[in-house]
Symmetry: C2
Subunit: 302 residues, 2 copies
Protein backbone atom coordinates (compact mmCIF):
# COMPACT_ATOMS: atom_id res chain seq x y z
CA UNK A 1 0.00 0.00 0.00
CA UNK A 2 1.78 3.20 -1.10
CA UNK A 3 0.53 6.69 -0.24
CA UNK A 4 -0.96 7.39 -3.66
CA UNK A 5 -3.00 4.19 -3.75
CA UNK A 6 -4.16 4.66 -0.17
CA UNK A 7 -5.32 8.20 -0.98
CA UNK A 8 -7.02 6.90 -4.12
CA UNK A 9 -8.93 4.35 -2.07
CA UNK A 10 -9.97 6.87 0.58
CA UNK A 11 -10.92 9.38 -2.09
CA UNK A 12 -12.76 6.87 -4.28
CA UNK A 13 -15.72 6.53 -2.00
CA UNK A 14 -16.01 10.13 -0.97
CA UNK A 15 -19.39 11.72 -1.46
CA UNK A 16 -20.16 15.36 -2.17
CA UNK A 17 -21.10 18.01 0.32
CA UNK A 18 -22.89 21.31 -0.15
CA UNK A 19 -20.31 24.08 -0.13
CA UNK A 20 -17.32 21.76 -0.59
CA UNK A 21 -15.66 22.95 -3.83
CA UNK A 22 -12.42 20.98 -3.59
CA UNK A 23 -11.99 17.82 -1.51
CA UNK A 24 -9.22 15.25 -1.13
CA UNK A 25 -6.29 15.59 -3.54
CA UNK A 26 -5.22 19.25 -3.51
CA UNK A 27 -3.08 21.22 -1.05
CA UNK A 28 -6.19 22.38 0.81
CA UNK A 29 -9.88 21.57 0.89
CA UNK A 30 -11.95 24.51 -0.34
CA UNK A 31 -15.25 25.23 1.41
CA UNK A 32 -17.71 28.04 0.60
CA UNK A 33 -19.87 29.03 3.60
CA UNK A 34 -23.42 30.12 2.79
CA UNK A 35 -23.43 33.73 1.62
CA UNK A 36 -19.69 34.27 2.12
CA UNK A 37 -17.57 36.56 -0.05
CA UNK A 38 -14.53 34.39 0.60
CA UNK A 39 -13.80 30.71 0.10
CA UNK A 40 -12.17 28.95 3.03
CA UNK A 41 -9.04 26.86 2.58
CA UNK A 42 -8.44 24.08 5.09
CA UNK A 43 -5.31 22.01 5.47
CA UNK A 44 -3.77 19.69 8.04
CA UNK A 45 -0.17 18.45 8.34
CA UNK A 46 1.71 16.08 10.60
CA UNK A 47 5.04 16.75 12.27
CA UNK A 48 6.04 13.63 14.18
CA UNK A 49 9.16 12.87 16.21
CA UNK A 50 11.35 10.28 14.52
CA UNK A 51 9.49 10.75 11.23
CA UNK A 52 9.52 14.45 10.36
CA UNK A 53 12.07 15.59 12.92
CA UNK A 54 14.59 14.18 15.37
CA UNK A 55 14.60 15.14 19.01
CA UNK A 56 18.40 15.32 19.21
CA UNK A 57 19.07 17.41 16.13
CA UNK A 58 16.05 19.70 15.77
CA UNK A 59 15.86 22.56 18.29
CA UNK A 60 12.38 22.98 19.80
CA UNK A 61 11.93 26.46 18.30
CA UNK A 62 12.51 25.03 14.84
CA UNK A 63 10.00 22.22 15.51
CA UNK A 64 7.35 24.79 16.48
CA UNK A 65 8.17 26.93 13.46
CA UNK A 66 8.09 24.01 11.06
CA UNK A 67 4.87 22.52 12.44
CA UNK A 68 3.12 25.74 11.44
CA UNK A 69 5.16 26.34 8.27
CA UNK A 70 3.97 23.08 6.73
CA UNK A 71 0.34 24.18 7.01
CA UNK A 72 0.99 27.76 5.92
CA UNK A 73 2.80 26.52 2.83
CA UNK A 74 -0.39 24.75 1.71
CA UNK A 75 -2.34 28.00 2.08
CA UNK A 76 0.37 29.81 0.08
CA UNK A 77 0.12 27.16 -2.65
CA UNK A 78 -3.53 28.06 -3.21
CA UNK A 79 -2.94 31.81 -3.18
CA UNK A 80 -4.71 32.23 0.13
CA UNK A 81 -4.31 34.40 3.17
CA UNK A 82 -3.77 32.51 6.44
CA UNK A 83 -6.39 33.36 9.10
CA UNK A 84 -6.48 30.99 12.05
CA UNK A 85 -4.87 27.73 13.06
CA UNK A 86 -5.52 24.89 15.49
CA UNK A 87 -2.72 22.82 16.95
CA UNK A 88 -3.03 19.26 18.17
CA UNK A 89 0.00 18.57 20.29
CA UNK A 90 0.93 15.26 21.92
CA UNK A 91 3.83 15.67 24.33
CA UNK A 92 6.31 12.85 24.98
CA UNK A 93 7.61 11.78 28.41
CA UNK A 94 10.93 13.52 27.67
CA UNK A 95 9.28 16.88 26.97
CA UNK A 96 10.29 19.52 29.53
CA UNK A 97 8.54 22.79 30.27
CA UNK A 98 11.57 24.54 28.78
CA UNK A 99 11.17 22.58 25.55
CA UNK A 100 7.46 23.49 25.31
CA UNK A 101 8.25 27.17 25.93
CA UNK A 102 10.86 27.19 23.14
CA UNK A 103 8.51 25.26 20.84
CA UNK A 104 5.83 27.93 21.25
CA UNK A 105 8.36 30.74 20.79
CA UNK A 106 9.20 29.35 17.35
CA UNK A 107 5.56 28.69 16.60
CA UNK A 108 4.48 32.21 17.58
CA UNK A 109 7.32 33.91 15.71
CA UNK A 110 6.05 32.47 12.45
CA UNK A 111 2.39 32.97 13.42
CA UNK A 112 2.96 36.67 14.03
CA UNK A 113 4.97 37.08 10.82
CA UNK A 114 2.17 35.39 8.87
CA UNK A 115 -0.80 37.09 10.55
CA UNK A 116 -2.30 33.79 11.72
CA UNK A 117 -3.86 33.31 15.16
CA UNK A 118 -3.90 30.13 17.25
CA UNK A 119 -7.60 29.49 17.88
CA UNK A 120 -7.73 26.02 19.41
CA UNK A 121 -6.46 22.45 19.29
CA UNK A 122 -6.10 19.40 21.46
CA UNK A 123 -3.48 18.31 23.98
CA UNK A 124 -2.40 14.81 24.91
CA UNK A 125 0.54 12.81 26.16
CA UNK A 126 2.01 10.09 23.96
CA UNK A 127 5.18 8.01 23.66
CA UNK A 128 6.55 10.19 20.88
CA UNK A 129 5.97 13.88 20.37
CA UNK A 130 3.51 14.60 17.59
CA UNK A 131 1.98 17.77 16.19
CA UNK A 132 -0.86 18.06 13.76
CA UNK A 133 -1.43 21.60 12.52
CA UNK A 134 -4.70 22.80 11.01
CA UNK A 135 -4.59 26.07 9.12
CA UNK A 136 -7.67 27.90 7.87
CA UNK A 137 -7.08 30.45 5.14
CA UNK A 138 -9.23 32.36 2.74
CA UNK A 139 -9.25 33.40 -0.88
CA UNK A 140 -11.74 35.53 -2.84
CA UNK A 141 -14.64 33.42 -4.19
CA UNK A 142 -13.53 31.04 -6.91
CA UNK A 143 -9.96 32.33 -7.06
CA UNK A 144 -8.04 29.67 -5.10
CA UNK A 145 -5.19 28.23 -7.19
CA UNK A 146 -5.59 24.50 -7.80
CA UNK A 147 -3.26 21.73 -8.90
CA UNK A 148 -5.67 20.86 -11.65
CA UNK A 149 -5.59 24.03 -13.77
CA UNK A 150 -2.47 23.48 -15.91
CA UNK A 151 -3.03 23.23 -19.68
CA UNK A 152 -0.77 22.25 -22.58
CA UNK A 153 1.37 25.21 -23.60
CA UNK A 154 1.56 26.62 -20.04
CA UNK A 155 4.98 27.61 -18.75
CA UNK A 156 6.25 25.91 -15.59
CA UNK A 157 8.00 27.95 -12.88
CA UNK A 158 9.46 27.38 -9.43
CA UNK A 159 10.22 29.92 -6.74
CA UNK A 160 13.54 30.14 -4.92
CA UNK A 161 16.19 27.43 -5.04
CA UNK A 162 15.72 23.68 -4.80
CA UNK A 163 17.52 21.00 -2.82
CA UNK A 164 18.54 23.24 0.09
CA UNK A 165 16.51 21.37 2.65
CA UNK A 166 17.84 17.97 1.54
CA UNK A 167 21.40 19.33 1.58
CA UNK A 168 20.82 20.75 5.05
CA UNK A 169 19.49 17.46 6.36
CA UNK A 170 22.57 15.69 5.00
CA UNK A 171 25.16 18.18 6.28
CA UNK A 172 23.45 19.88 9.23
CA UNK A 173 25.47 22.97 8.49
CA UNK A 174 25.14 26.53 7.33
CA UNK A 175 22.39 28.13 5.29
CA UNK A 176 21.09 24.79 4.03
CA UNK A 177 20.51 23.51 7.58
CA UNK A 178 18.73 26.77 8.50
CA UNK A 179 16.59 26.32 5.44
CA UNK A 180 15.70 22.79 6.52
CA UNK A 181 14.90 23.95 10.07
CA UNK A 182 12.94 27.10 9.27
CA UNK A 183 11.39 26.99 5.83
CA UNK A 184 9.66 30.21 4.73
CA UNK A 185 6.10 29.65 3.56
CA UNK A 186 5.61 31.72 0.40
CA UNK A 187 2.37 33.39 1.44
CA UNK A 188 2.91 36.75 -0.28
CA UNK A 189 4.13 35.09 -3.41
CA UNK A 190 1.06 32.86 -3.42
CA UNK A 191 -1.24 35.88 -3.30
CA UNK A 192 0.73 37.49 -6.14
CA UNK A 193 0.35 34.31 -8.22
CA UNK A 194 -3.38 34.23 -7.57
CA UNK A 195 -3.74 37.73 -8.99
CA UNK A 196 -1.30 37.12 -11.87
CA UNK A 197 -3.11 34.67 -12.35
CA UNK A 198 -1.24 31.40 -12.37
CA UNK A 199 -3.19 28.54 -13.95
CA UNK A 200 -2.08 25.96 -11.35
CA UNK A 201 0.09 25.90 -8.24
CA UNK A 202 1.23 23.65 -5.41
CA UNK A 203 3.98 23.69 -2.81
CA UNK A 204 7.11 21.59 -3.07
CA UNK A 205 7.02 19.46 0.05
CA UNK A 206 7.99 16.02 -1.27
CA UNK A 207 10.45 16.91 -4.06
CA UNK A 208 10.04 18.47 -7.50
CA UNK A 209 9.85 15.20 -9.43
CA UNK A 210 7.04 13.78 -7.27
CA UNK A 211 5.17 17.06 -6.79
CA UNK A 212 5.28 18.00 -10.50
CA UNK A 213 4.07 14.46 -11.24
CA UNK A 214 1.11 15.08 -8.90
CA UNK A 215 0.32 18.45 -10.49
CA UNK A 216 0.42 16.87 -13.96
CA UNK A 217 -1.82 13.98 -12.89
CA UNK A 218 -4.33 16.41 -11.33
CA UNK A 219 -4.31 18.50 -14.54
CA UNK A 220 -4.21 15.42 -16.84
CA UNK A 221 -1.17 16.72 -18.69
CA UNK A 222 2.53 15.92 -19.19
CA UNK A 223 5.58 18.14 -18.74
CA UNK A 224 8.91 18.87 -20.40
CA UNK A 225 11.64 20.31 -18.19
CA UNK A 226 14.16 22.42 -20.05
CA UNK A 227 16.94 22.33 -17.47
CA UNK A 228 18.33 25.48 -15.92
CA UNK A 229 16.93 24.36 -12.55
CA UNK A 230 17.64 26.84 -9.72
CA UNK A 231 19.80 24.57 -7.55
CA UNK A 232 20.54 25.62 -3.97
CA UNK A 233 24.28 26.44 -3.65
CA UNK A 234 26.10 23.22 -2.79
CA UNK A 235 23.13 20.93 -3.43
CA UNK A 236 23.30 18.16 -6.04
CA UNK A 237 20.97 17.96 -9.03
CA UNK A 238 19.52 14.87 -7.37
CA UNK A 239 18.72 16.84 -4.23
CA UNK A 240 17.13 19.61 -6.32
CA UNK A 241 15.02 17.15 -8.34
CA UNK A 242 13.99 14.75 -5.61
CA UNK A 243 14.73 16.32 -2.21
CA UNK A 244 11.72 17.19 -0.06
CA UNK A 245 10.77 20.04 2.24
CA UNK A 246 11.89 23.04 0.20
CA UNK A 247 8.39 24.55 0.56
CA UNK A 248 8.92 26.61 -2.57
CA UNK A 249 6.01 27.08 -4.97
CA UNK A 250 5.63 25.22 -8.24
CA UNK A 251 3.25 26.98 -10.64
CA UNK A 252 2.15 27.28 -14.24
CA UNK A 253 1.05 30.30 -16.29
CA UNK A 254 -0.38 30.81 -19.77
CA UNK A 255 2.46 31.48 -22.23
CA UNK A 256 3.35 35.15 -22.42
CA UNK A 257 2.23 35.95 -18.85
CA UNK A 258 4.67 38.55 -17.50
CA UNK A 259 6.36 36.70 -14.62
CA UNK A 260 9.02 38.85 -12.92
CA UNK A 261 12.47 37.36 -12.27
CA UNK A 262 12.11 38.09 -8.57
CA UNK A 263 9.21 38.87 -6.30
CA UNK A 264 9.56 39.89 -2.66
CA UNK A 265 13.21 38.79 -2.63
CA UNK A 266 12.41 35.34 -4.07
CA UNK A 267 13.59 34.33 -7.54
CA UNK A 268 11.06 32.93 -10.03
CA UNK A 269 12.60 30.58 -12.58
CA UNK A 270 11.04 29.10 -15.69
CA UNK A 271 11.92 25.40 -15.76
CA UNK A 272 9.80 23.96 -18.57
CA UNK A 273 6.39 23.70 -20.13
CA UNK A 274 3.21 21.69 -19.94
CA UNK A 275 2.56 19.42 -22.94
CA UNK A 276 -0.07 16.96 -24.05
CA UNK A 277 0.77 13.40 -23.10
CA UNK A 278 0.21 10.66 -20.58
CA UNK A 279 -0.83 12.37 -17.34
CA UNK A 280 2.17 12.65 -15.04
CA UNK A 281 4.81 11.87 -17.67
CA UNK A 282 7.78 14.20 -17.19
CA UNK A 283 10.72 14.50 -19.59
CA UNK A 284 14.02 16.18 -18.68
CA UNK A 285 16.63 16.70 -21.44
CA UNK A 286 15.04 13.97 -23.56
CA UNK A 287 14.94 11.41 -20.72
CA UNK A 288 11.96 10.27 -18.67
CA UNK A 289 12.10 11.70 -15.13
CA UNK A 290 10.56 9.33 -12.62
CA UNK A 291 8.80 10.68 -9.53
CA UNK A 292 11.36 9.85 -6.84
CA UNK A 293 10.18 12.02 -3.97
CA UNK A 294 9.49 10.81 -0.47
CA UNK A 295 6.66 8.35 0.06
CA UNK A 296 5.83 7.70 3.72
CA UNK A 297 4.26 4.40 2.87
CA UNK A 298 7.12 2.94 0.93
CA UNK A 299 9.46 4.45 3.57
CA UNK A 300 11.90 5.35 0.86
CA UNK A 301 12.45 7.63 -2.05
CA UNK A 302 9.79 5.95 -4.18
Amino acid sequence: MDETSLIRRIRGRTTRARGLLVGIGDDCAVYRPAGAREDLLLTTDWLIEGVHFLRDTHPPGAVGWKALARGLSDIAAMGGRAKICLLSLALAPWTTEQWVTAFFQGFRRLARASGVVLAGGDLARAERLACDIVVVGSAPRGEALLRSGARPGDEIYVSGQLGGSALGLATRRGAAWQRHLRPEPRLRLGEFLRRLPATAAMDLSDGLSLDLYRLCVASRVAAELTGGLPVFPGASLDQALHGGEDYELLFTVRPGTPVPQRRGGVSLTRIGRIVRGRPGRIVLAGERLRPLGWDHFLRRQS
Copy 2:
Protein backbone atom coordinates in the same frame (compact mmCIF):
# COMPACT_ATOMS: atom_id res chain seq x y z
CA MET B 1 2.43 21.15 34.21
CA ASP B 2 -1.20 20.00 34.15
CA GLU B 3 -3.48 20.40 31.15
CA THR B 4 -5.39 23.39 32.51
CA SER B 5 -2.25 25.40 33.30
CA LEU B 6 -0.69 24.51 29.95
CA ILE B 7 -3.82 25.69 28.13
CA ARG B 8 -3.82 28.84 30.24
CA ARG B 9 -0.24 29.58 29.21
CA ILE B 10 -0.92 28.93 25.52
CA ARG B 11 -4.10 30.95 25.66
CA GLY B 12 -2.61 33.83 27.65
CA ARG B 13 -0.55 35.18 24.81
CA THR B 14 -3.09 34.66 22.07
CA THR B 15 -3.91 37.69 19.98
CA ARG B 16 -7.18 38.47 18.25
CA ALA B 17 -8.04 37.83 14.64
CA ARG B 18 -10.68 39.40 12.42
CA GLY B 19 -13.62 37.01 12.20
CA LEU B 20 -12.53 34.85 15.14
CA LEU B 21 -15.43 35.03 17.61
CA VAL B 22 -14.36 32.26 19.99
CA GLY B 23 -10.78 31.03 20.34
CA ILE B 24 -9.02 28.65 22.73
CA GLY B 25 -11.11 27.37 25.65
CA ASP B 26 -14.45 26.22 24.23
CA ASP B 27 -15.44 22.99 22.48
CA CYS B 28 -14.87 24.59 19.07
CA ALA B 29 -13.31 27.75 17.70
CA VAL B 30 -15.95 29.97 16.06
CA TYR B 31 -15.00 31.83 12.88
CA ARG B 32 -17.22 34.16 10.85
CA PRO B 33 -16.18 34.36 7.18
CA ALA B 34 -16.71 37.74 5.50
CA GLY B 35 -20.35 38.13 4.47
CA ALA B 36 -21.39 34.65 5.61
CA ARG B 37 -24.85 33.82 6.98
CA GLU B 38 -23.36 31.03 9.06
CA ASP B 39 -20.62 30.90 11.68
CA LEU B 40 -18.10 28.11 11.27
CA LEU B 41 -17.22 25.81 14.14
CA LEU B 42 -13.79 24.18 14.09
CA THR B 43 -12.54 21.44 16.37
CA THR B 44 -9.70 18.96 16.45
CA ASP B 45 -9.29 15.80 18.59
CA TRP B 46 -6.62 13.20 19.11
CA LEU B 47 -7.14 9.45 19.14
CA ILE B 48 -3.80 7.80 19.87
CA GLU B 49 -2.87 4.13 20.28
CA GLY B 50 -1.96 3.32 23.87
CA VAL B 51 -3.51 6.58 25.09
CA HIS B 52 -7.08 6.77 23.81
CA PHE B 53 -7.41 3.19 22.58
CA LEU B 54 -5.60 -0.13 22.78
CA ARG B 55 -4.71 -2.09 19.70
CA ASP B 56 -5.60 -5.44 21.24
CA THR B 57 -9.00 -4.55 22.67
CA HIS B 58 -10.44 -1.94 20.31
CA PRO B 59 -11.66 -3.27 16.96
CA PRO B 60 -10.52 -1.12 14.00
CA GLY B 61 -14.09 -0.20 13.04
CA ALA B 62 -14.64 1.20 16.54
CA VAL B 63 -11.38 3.18 16.34
CA GLY B 64 -12.51 4.79 13.06
CA TRP B 65 -15.96 5.50 14.50
CA LYS B 66 -14.58 7.00 17.68
CA ALA B 67 -11.94 9.13 15.94
CA LEU B 68 -14.77 10.93 14.15
CA ALA B 69 -17.25 10.79 17.07
CA ARG B 70 -14.92 12.82 19.29
CA GLY B 71 -14.93 15.70 16.81
CA LEU B 72 -18.64 15.47 16.04
CA SER B 73 -19.44 15.62 19.75
CA ASP B 74 -17.75 19.04 19.95
CA ILE B 75 -19.91 20.30 17.07
CA ALA B 76 -23.02 18.90 18.84
CA ALA B 77 -21.98 20.70 22.04
CA MET B 78 -22.21 24.06 20.25
CA GLY B 79 -25.53 23.26 18.58
CA GLY B 80 -23.92 23.05 15.15
CA ARG B 81 -24.42 20.98 12.06
CA ALA B 82 -21.37 18.95 10.96
CA LYS B 83 -20.26 19.75 7.40
CA ILE B 84 -16.83 18.45 6.47
CA CYS B 85 -13.92 16.77 8.19
CA LEU B 86 -10.21 16.26 7.63
CA LEU B 87 -8.39 13.23 8.99
CA SER B 88 -4.70 13.10 9.82
CA LEU B 89 -3.78 9.45 10.09
CA ALA B 90 -0.39 8.04 11.08
CA LEU B 91 -0.25 4.29 10.53
CA ALA B 92 1.92 2.03 12.70
CA PRO B 93 4.16 -0.79 11.42
CA TRP B 94 1.59 -3.35 12.62
CA THR B 95 -1.25 -1.81 10.60
CA THR B 96 -2.51 -4.15 7.89
CA GLU B 97 -4.56 -3.26 4.83
CA GLN B 98 -7.45 -5.17 6.42
CA TRP B 99 -7.19 -3.02 9.55
CA VAL B 100 -7.26 0.19 7.49
CA THR B 101 -10.28 -1.04 5.52
CA ALA B 102 -12.21 -1.82 8.72
CA PHE B 103 -11.13 1.50 10.24
CA PHE B 104 -12.62 3.39 7.32
CA GLN B 105 -15.78 1.29 7.39
CA GLY B 106 -16.42 2.44 10.96
CA PHE B 107 -15.41 6.00 10.11
CA ARG B 108 -17.69 6.17 7.06
CA ARG B 109 -20.65 4.61 8.86
CA LEU B 110 -20.68 7.47 11.34
CA ALA B 111 -19.83 10.06 8.65
CA ARG B 112 -22.85 9.02 6.57
CA ALA B 113 -25.15 8.93 9.58
CA SER B 114 -24.01 12.45 10.53
CA GLY B 115 -24.00 14.00 7.05
CA VAL B 116 -20.32 14.89 7.22
CA VAL B 117 -17.93 14.47 4.27
CA LEU B 118 -14.21 13.62 4.43
CA ALA B 119 -12.54 16.49 2.55
CA GLY B 120 -8.83 16.02 3.20
CA GLY B 121 -6.14 15.25 5.74
CA ASP B 122 -2.58 14.02 5.94
CA LEU B 123 -1.05 10.53 5.96
CA ALA B 124 2.15 9.36 7.61
CA ARG B 125 3.79 6.34 9.16
CA ALA B 126 4.73 6.41 12.83
CA GLU B 127 5.65 4.01 15.62
CA ARG B 128 2.19 4.12 17.13
CA LEU B 129 -1.07 4.63 15.30
CA ALA B 130 -2.45 8.14 15.73
CA CYS B 131 -5.48 9.96 14.37
CA ASP B 132 -6.24 13.63 14.60
CA ILE B 133 -9.71 14.52 13.39
CA VAL B 134 -10.73 18.02 12.30
CA VAL B 135 -14.44 18.70 12.00
CA VAL B 136 -15.91 21.85 10.49
CA GLY B 137 -19.50 22.58 11.39
CA SER B 138 -21.79 25.54 11.10
CA ALA B 139 -24.39 27.37 13.13
CA PRO B 140 -26.58 30.37 12.25
CA ARG B 141 -24.76 33.66 12.92
CA GLY B 142 -24.28 34.30 16.63
CA GLU B 143 -26.24 31.23 17.75
CA ALA B 144 -23.48 28.77 18.65
CA LEU B 145 -23.86 27.49 22.21
CA LEU B 146 -20.89 28.41 24.39
CA ARG B 147 -19.56 27.17 27.73
CA SER B 148 -19.59 30.71 29.00
CA GLY B 149 -23.30 31.54 28.90
CA ALA B 150 -24.55 30.03 32.18
CA ARG B 151 -26.00 32.49 34.73
CA PRO B 152 -27.02 32.12 38.39
CA GLY B 153 -30.49 30.61 38.57
CA ASP B 154 -30.07 28.52 35.39
CA GLU B 155 -31.06 24.88 35.58
CA ILE B 156 -28.41 22.26 34.82
CA TYR B 157 -29.26 19.24 32.67
CA VAL B 158 -27.47 16.25 31.18
CA SER B 159 -28.54 14.05 28.30
CA GLY B 160 -28.62 10.25 28.48
CA GLN B 161 -26.94 8.22 31.21
CA LEU B 162 -23.53 8.72 32.74
CA GLY B 163 -20.71 6.36 33.59
CA GLY B 164 -21.46 3.82 30.84
CA SER B 165 -18.20 4.35 29.02
CA ALA B 166 -16.13 4.01 32.21
CA LEU B 167 -18.06 0.87 33.16
CA GLY B 168 -17.49 -0.53 29.67
CA LEU B 169 -13.77 0.14 29.80
CA ALA B 170 -13.60 -1.66 33.15
CA THR B 171 -15.68 -4.70 32.19
CA ARG B 172 -15.38 -4.88 28.38
CA ARG B 173 -18.81 -6.42 28.27
CA GLY B 174 -22.32 -5.77 27.09
CA ALA B 175 -24.03 -2.46 26.42
CA ALA B 176 -21.49 -0.49 28.44
CA TRP B 177 -18.60 -1.76 26.29
CA GLN B 178 -20.53 -0.92 23.11
CA ARG B 179 -21.12 2.51 24.51
CA HIS B 180 -17.41 2.94 25.15
CA LEU B 181 -16.52 1.72 21.65
CA ARG B 182 -19.14 3.58 19.64
CA PRO B 183 -20.36 6.71 21.43
CA GLU B 184 -23.21 8.56 19.71
CA PRO B 185 -22.50 12.22 19.15
CA ARG B 186 -25.66 14.14 20.11
CA LEU B 187 -25.87 16.26 16.96
CA ARG B 188 -29.66 16.47 16.70
CA LEU B 189 -30.01 17.16 20.38
CA GLY B 190 -27.41 19.93 20.07
CA GLU B 191 -29.43 21.64 17.35
CA PHE B 192 -32.56 21.32 19.48
CA LEU B 193 -30.76 22.93 22.43
CA ARG B 194 -29.55 25.78 20.23
CA ARG B 195 -33.13 26.58 19.26
CA LEU B 196 -34.51 26.05 22.79
CA PRO B 197 -32.26 28.00 23.53
CA ALA B 198 -29.89 26.62 26.13
CA THR B 199 -27.77 29.30 27.82
CA ALA B 200 -24.58 27.16 27.83
CA ALA B 201 -23.55 23.72 26.67
CA MET B 202 -20.55 21.42 26.37
CA ASP B 203 -19.96 17.73 25.77
CA LEU B 204 -19.00 15.31 28.54
CA SER B 205 -15.67 13.91 27.38
CA ASP B 206 -13.60 13.97 30.58
CA GLY B 207 -16.22 13.26 33.26
CA LEU B 208 -19.08 15.32 34.71
CA SER B 209 -17.16 16.69 37.70
CA LEU B 210 -14.31 18.06 35.55
CA ASP B 211 -16.46 19.19 32.64
CA LEU B 212 -19.03 20.96 34.84
CA TYR B 213 -16.11 22.60 36.64
CA ARG B 214 -14.87 23.88 33.26
CA LEU B 215 -18.31 25.15 32.26
CA CYS B 216 -18.63 26.97 35.60
CA VAL B 217 -15.16 28.51 35.27
CA ALA B 218 -15.94 29.68 31.71
CA SER B 219 -19.23 31.19 32.92
CA ARG B 220 -17.72 32.51 36.21
CA VAL B 221 -20.38 30.79 38.29
CA ALA B 222 -20.75 27.96 40.81
CA ALA B 223 -23.13 24.98 40.77
CA GLU B 224 -25.27 22.94 43.15
CA LEU B 225 -26.04 19.39 42.12
CA THR B 226 -29.30 18.06 43.51
CA GLY B 227 -28.65 14.36 43.04
CA GLY B 228 -30.91 12.16 40.95
CA LEU B 229 -28.04 11.68 38.50
CA PRO B 230 -28.97 9.43 35.53
CA VAL B 231 -26.49 6.63 36.19
CA PHE B 232 -25.86 4.07 33.43
CA PRO B 233 -27.24 0.67 34.55
CA GLY B 234 -24.50 -1.12 36.46
CA ALA B 235 -22.20 1.89 36.72
CA SER B 236 -21.12 3.27 40.08
CA LEU B 237 -21.83 6.82 41.22
CA ASP B 238 -18.09 7.39 40.97
CA GLN B 239 -18.10 6.33 37.32
CA ALA B 240 -21.09 8.58 36.63
CA LEU B 241 -19.49 11.58 38.35
CA HIS B 242 -15.91 11.22 37.15
CA GLY B 243 -15.83 8.72 34.27
CA GLY B 244 -14.86 10.11 30.87
CA GLU B 245 -15.98 9.54 27.30
CA ASP B 246 -19.73 9.46 27.71
CA TYR B 247 -20.08 12.15 25.03
CA GLU B 248 -23.44 13.20 26.44
CA LEU B 249 -24.34 16.89 26.52
CA LEU B 250 -24.21 19.03 29.64
CA PHE B 251 -26.32 22.18 29.31
CA THR B 252 -28.03 24.97 31.21
CA VAL B 253 -31.31 26.78 30.59
CA ARG B 254 -33.07 29.79 32.13
CA PRO B 255 -35.45 28.58 34.88
CA GLY B 256 -38.85 27.66 33.53
CA THR B 257 -37.61 26.75 30.04
CA PRO B 258 -39.75 23.81 28.90
CA VAL B 259 -37.18 20.98 28.60
CA PRO B 260 -38.81 17.70 27.54
CA GLN B 261 -38.00 14.51 29.48
CA ARG B 262 -36.80 12.85 26.29
CA ARG B 263 -35.76 14.11 22.88
CA GLY B 264 -34.98 11.83 19.92
CA GLY B 265 -34.83 8.79 22.20
CA VAL B 266 -32.40 10.45 24.62
CA SER B 267 -33.43 11.30 28.18
CA LEU B 268 -32.85 14.82 29.49
CA THR B 269 -32.39 14.99 33.26
CA ARG B 270 -32.23 18.01 35.50
CA ILE B 271 -29.30 17.55 37.88
CA GLY B 272 -28.93 20.91 39.62
CA ARG B 273 -28.71 24.63 39.26
CA ILE B 274 -26.20 27.39 38.67
CA VAL B 275 -25.53 29.63 41.66
CA ARG B 276 -23.37 32.62 42.51
CA GLY B 277 -20.06 31.66 44.07
CA ARG B 278 -16.41 31.02 43.46
CA PRO B 279 -16.12 30.10 39.75
CA GLY B 280 -15.94 26.32 39.38
CA ARG B 281 -17.12 25.48 42.90
CA ILE B 282 -19.53 22.55 42.77
CA VAL B 283 -21.58 21.27 45.68
CA LEU B 284 -23.32 17.87 45.73
CA ALA B 285 -25.64 17.05 48.63
CA GLY B 286 -23.97 19.69 50.79
CA GLU B 287 -20.43 18.46 50.09
CA ARG B 288 -17.83 20.02 47.83
CA LEU B 289 -17.40 17.97 44.62
CA ARG B 290 -13.83 18.11 43.35
CA PRO B 291 -13.12 17.91 39.62
CA LEU B 292 -11.73 14.39 39.34
CA GLY B 293 -11.99 13.73 35.61
CA TRP B 294 -9.13 12.60 33.44
CA ASP B 295 -6.15 14.90 32.97
CA HIS B 296 -3.67 13.77 30.31
CA PHE B 297 -0.92 15.77 31.90
CA LEU B 298 -1.24 14.40 35.38
CA ARG B 299 -1.79 10.96 33.82
CA ARG B 300 -4.37 10.20 36.44
CA GLN B 301 -7.81 11.08 37.61
CA SER B 302 -6.77 14.56 38.73
